[in-house]
């Protein structure tokens, strides 16, 4: 697992908070770090498998998200993409972001605040709660599984 300095984490957190106020409290920094480390797992932590909360595939007894396999070419694409994002976040942490880096930070802050909690953000569904977005329905298959 990649170790990041306190200064790196502090600067990135500030950028995320600047993009979407409240996002860090909801786990945005965790989201970004997990994304940047996603390829260090097998399967990579890119696509959360439908599991306890969204039906069917995963182990309903698991206490952590499970993940879909990537094909070899998808793994190549995500390695390239995440590698570029790591450089972008290093520029953000160094206080030298490019315009595209700030756009990336904003998009990730939005994903972290309002996306599936399986990815490390939107802690406890708090992002949905604060905007009145109803938690996604549990389809019947999941009810059967649990």
């Amino acid at each position: 697992m990649t170790v990041r300095t306190r200064a790196w984490r502090s600067a990135v957190a500030a950028a995320l908070e600047d993009a979407v106020p409240g996002s860090v409290d909801l786990g945005a920094l965790v989201y970004v770090e997990r994304l940047l480390d996603a390829l260090e797992h097998d399967p990579p932590h890119i696509w959360a498998a439908p599991g306890v909360w969204s039906g069917g595939f995963g182990d309903p007894g698991a206490d952590a998200p499970q993940w879909l396999e990537l094909g070899p070419w998808e793994r190549q694409a995500w390695s390239q993409r995440v590698g570029e994002w790591r450089l972008a976040y290093d520029r953000v942490a160094a206080g030298l972001p490019e315009a595209d880096d700030l756009r990336l930070v904003h998009e990730h802050a939005c994903e972290a605040t309002y996306g599936d909690p399986a990815y490390g953000g939107n802690a406890g569904g708090g992002g949905w709660v604060r905007i009145g977005f109803p938690e996604p329905l549990h389809p019947p298959a999941r009810g059967d599984a649990t």
């Binding site: 439908p50 094909g71 694409a77 599936d116 990815y119």
Partner: protein, 600 residues
């Protein structure tokens, strides 16, 4: 020892390829079905259960390319005209899913039929300068039996007799309509007050349990998502039926790179493909077909393959059409709609109106004022807004973020009309090969050159104020309209418009036009390449005109027709269709319940 691997090899597992596979396999023919993308849909081992990879997960589906294609691997390019140089944009251009099930996986499965006039547009309406409007080489009456069968196979839920503009039908919809989205009832009532004729959308989503699949749960993650419960016929049911015959060999991650011809160059003996399970050097493999090669890779990838192979003639890729989309957005007041417009739940779109497809004094007036002989719009979808990640990105960064999200003008308070406007065919609108951009496997990227005809702009300008007035009458506090492709500063749209500068429509048509004259078409009325007669095209690239209706049911009906002709199956009551109907017999009681609920 056999010298062939199958009777027919099919390229592409979307609604066209899957329908063809089901017909052929049901008739006892052996099929190898090749799909470039990953398989997230259905197990290839008996009993071919769903893989259940799909969840109500905006990040995986919309942000992380779960359904493919990944633009880093498969970039496409876009330009408006040759004036833009080699390309204006590189990346995602009209990316339909590249995965088993193809475009059917992401669609919210609105499955209207075309009307009689759509097949005879040149005869009924006449030519338009700058466009190449032609009749199709078949009529609605000839296609109607195939429409009827694929509606059964897809389990289309709909309501017969409520759309006054619908073409004649030989049978009712097999399933009743699903639950209405409440706000669609509000905008439908306003549309009726404006003299329009809204009706419940024919939809390929189970309204009741059928075909061994459950009814829709109205989860709201519909358009753009794979269905987590397989209520959507995406087309998992067709694939399952084909696989369960034992005659279908479904191979995902198989990227077809060539069509193999015999010594005459006039007959295909199979295809070559890259086995993308291999990395970094995917092995090249060949499938040898006894009878035919069926191309069903969609109106972007089918011409891309043919052009790379030098097959199909000079017209391959030309007459690309989309639907020119006009979005009329209504923002509704939260004091009147404290629960919002309800877009978080439901099937994205449950109501349509067709009034702008049919001839009317108003449309004639708009055409005359613009110096056009006629104008047609398209089907208008009454639908809901964004999901929260997409909405949040649209608002931009900064302190206003939370108040914008709580106010939620673009999600919770939004309702929209989307007109899928008829796009006239122009020879200059085309798919070809980009001279500079290649995919990760070294093959030239597909390139779109596209600009709308003036007809589309006039139709859009006519529709926008009409629909804005309906939105306001429905209770919206503000209404405005936009189009895709956008008008105005391309730089602005490329950077800031959530729909981008290229056409956002996933309704991609034309490019291997069907016709009776080899000098003006790429495939024959039997959907066979004129120059290699045992290569059939079974996707929307054979469309002669775009009509103003979602293309999936028509392309599936055409695929059904072509496959039936190829194998000589009973065109109206094949085993698969009969089985599908039989499976639905138990659903009649619950169908009545849903119908009763909707009536009330």
């Amino acid at each position: 020892m056999s010298t062939t691997d199958c009777d027919v090899v099919i390229v592409g597992s979307g609604p066209g390829g899957s329908t063809a596979a089901e017909v052929l396999c049901g008739a006892g023919w052996s099929v190898v079905l090749l799909e470039k993308g990953r398989n997230h849909l259905v197990s290839t081992t008996p009993p071919h259960e769903p893989l259940r990879h799909f969840a109500n997960d905006e990040i995986a589906a919309h942000r992380r390319h779960l359904l493919g294609p990944d633009p880093l691997l498969e970039p496409r390019t876009y330009r408006r005209s040759v004036e833009d140089g080699d390309h204006l944009l590189v990346g995602e251009v009209n990316n339909l899913p590249s995965t088993v099930g193809g475009g059917g996986v992401h669609a919210d499965a609105k499955l209207p039929r075309f009307r009689e006039e759509d097949f005879r547009l040149r005869s009924e309406r006449g030519p338009v300068e700058g466009a190449d409007v032609r009749d199709w080489p078949l009529t609605y009456d000839e296609l109607e039996p195939h429409y009827a069968v694929v509606e059964q196979l897809f389990g289309v839920a709909g309501e017969t007799g409520t759309n006054p503009f619908a073409a004649p039908r030989s049978s009712p919809y097999p399933l009743p309509p699903g639950d209405d989205m409440p706000m669609a009832l509000v905008t439908s009532a306003a549309a009726e007050r404006a003299g329009l004729h809204p009706y419940r959308a024919p939809t390929g989503i189970n309204s009741v349990p059928a075909d061994g699949r459950p009814a829709c749960t109205d989860c709201g993650f519909c358009g753009g998502y794979g269905c987590p419960v397989q209520a959507k016929n995406d087309p998992i049911a067709a694939l399952q039926r084909a696989l369960r015959t034992g005659n279908c060999d479904l191979r995902a991650e198989s990227y077809v790179t060539g069509i193999v011809l015999d010594g005459t160059g006039r007959r295909a003996t199979g295809v070559r493909y890259l086995d993308l399970r291999g990395h970094p050097e995917p092995p090249s493999r060949e499938v040898r077909a006894r009878v035919a090669v069926v191309l069903a890779a969609g109106a972007f990838e089918t011409p891309r393959l043919l052009i790379a192979e030098g097959l199909g003639g000079d017209l391959v890729g030309r007459y690309l059409t989309y639907h020119h989309q006009t979005f009329t957005v209504g923002i509704f007041p939260s004091d009147r709609y404290p629960q919002g417009t309800g877009g978080e739940r439901g099937r994205s779109v449950t109501h349509l109106h067709d009034d702008l497809v049919v001839d009317s004094p108003e449309l004639r007036g708009a055409a005359a004022a613009a110096g056009l002989p006629w104008v047609r719009g398209g089907v208008v979808e009454h639908g809901a807004g964004h999901l929260p990640v997409e909405e949040a990105i649209t608002y931009g960064r900064g302190d206003h973020h939370l108040s914008s999200m709580v106010d939620s003008a673009l999600r919770r308070r939004m309702w929209a009309f989307t007109m899928q406007g008829e796009d006239l065919p122009q020879a200059s609108n085309r798919v070809d090969l980009d001279p500079r951009i290649r995919d990760v496997w070294g093959r030239p990227a597909g390139r779109v050159t596209y600009a709308p005809h003036r007809h589309e702009l006039v139709a859009s300008a006519h529709a926008a104020p009409l629909h804005e007035a309906v939105m306001l009458d429905a209770g919206a506090e503000v209404a405005f309209s936009a189009t895709s492709p956008p008008r105005g500063d391309v730089e602005l749209h490329a950077a800031a418009n959530p729909l981008g500068a290229a056409p956002a429509s996933r309704h991609v048509m034309g490019t291997t036009r069907m016709g009776s004259d080899p000098s003006t078409s790429v495939v024959s009325p039997s959907q066979r390449l004129w120059d290699v007669e045992n290569v059939l095209v079974c996707d929307s690239s054979v469309f002669v005109t775009s009509a103003g209706y979602n293309p999936t049911l028509t392309l599936a009906a055409l695929a059904h027709r072509a496959a039936v002709e190829l194998c000589g199956a009973d065109p109206t009551a094949g085993d698969a269709a009969a089985g599908a109907q039989s499976d639905r017999s138990d659903s009649r009681a619950s169908a009545s319940a849903v119908a009763e609920r909707n009536r009330s």
